[in-house]
């Protein structure tokens, strides 16, 4: 799964630490999610989308390999 967290962060001019604080996770967790190493839970994805003022689908997109 790919994501546009880095782009959304850049739009808001937020660091990973700032985003982490807003959604209540560690900076390392944001780093891991941003690098597509970890797929967040629905709650966390929704929390993130809410902070960015965007939809979850616009932040997280399935890749070819994720499709059944």
């Amino acid at each position: 799964m790919k994501n546009t967290i880095k782009v959304e962060r850049a739009k808001k001019n937020w660091t990973q630490a700032e985003l982490a604080e807003k959604i209540g996770v560690s900076r390392q967790a944001i780093n891991s999610i941003e690098a597509s190493k970890f797929v967040p839970s629905t709650v966390l994805a929704l929390r993130m989308a809410k902070e960015f003022g965007a939809s979850v689908e616009s932040i997280f997109q399935l890749e070819e390999t994720d499709l059944v």
Binding site: Q28, A29, A35, P40, S41
Partner: protein, 147 residues
């Protein structure tokens, strides 16, 4: 022992964050284990005292485990997954170790001084740390390029 209990009670009262208390409880557990091990090996103590010494590290570990369990609730999902995977790695390696040692013991009759249960505790701890390193690398936790 009495000093430790006093310290633990004081820490519980002070409402210090669990993250601060956890390393101390881990240290108490390790020291109580090493202390008991040393005392049981080197001193000739009454049997009742030896029983107490074998129980103390288990109690210290129970305290550490209880604090760790409470601390898990404060972790985010990535941190929980890392610890979970580390535990899986540690459990698997521990199982292989015990299984292999059991078979080796049947084949060659292990000498008690070369291999015994005492060596397993530090090995299992090392396995958990190995699991932590593997899992942290997998989830990019130590990667510092972040802004």
């Amino acid at each position: 022992m009495y000093i430790w209990l006093k310290q633990i009670r004081a820490m519980e009262k002070s409402k210090k964050p669990l993250s601060d208390r956890l390393p101390l409880y881990a240290l108490i557990w390790v020291l109580s284990y090493v202390g008991s091990l040393g005392a049981l090996k080197m001193l000739s103590l009454p049997e009742e005292f030896e029983v107490i010494l074998t129980i103390v590290p288990a109690l210290a570990f129970a305290l550490f485990l209880y604090t760790f369990y409470r601390y898990v609730h404060l972790m985010d999902e990535v941190q929980i997954k890392i610890r979970m995977e580390a535990a899986v790695v540690a459990f698997s390696l521990a199982l292989v170790t015990v299984m292999t040692l059991g078979l080796v013991d049947i084949a060659f009759k292990l000498n008690g001084e070369d291999w015994n249960f005492r060596f397993l505790a530090p090995m299992f701890m090392a396995y958990y740390l190995i699991g932590l390193v593997i899992s942290k690398r997998k989830y990019n936790i130590d990667h510092e390029e972040h802004d």
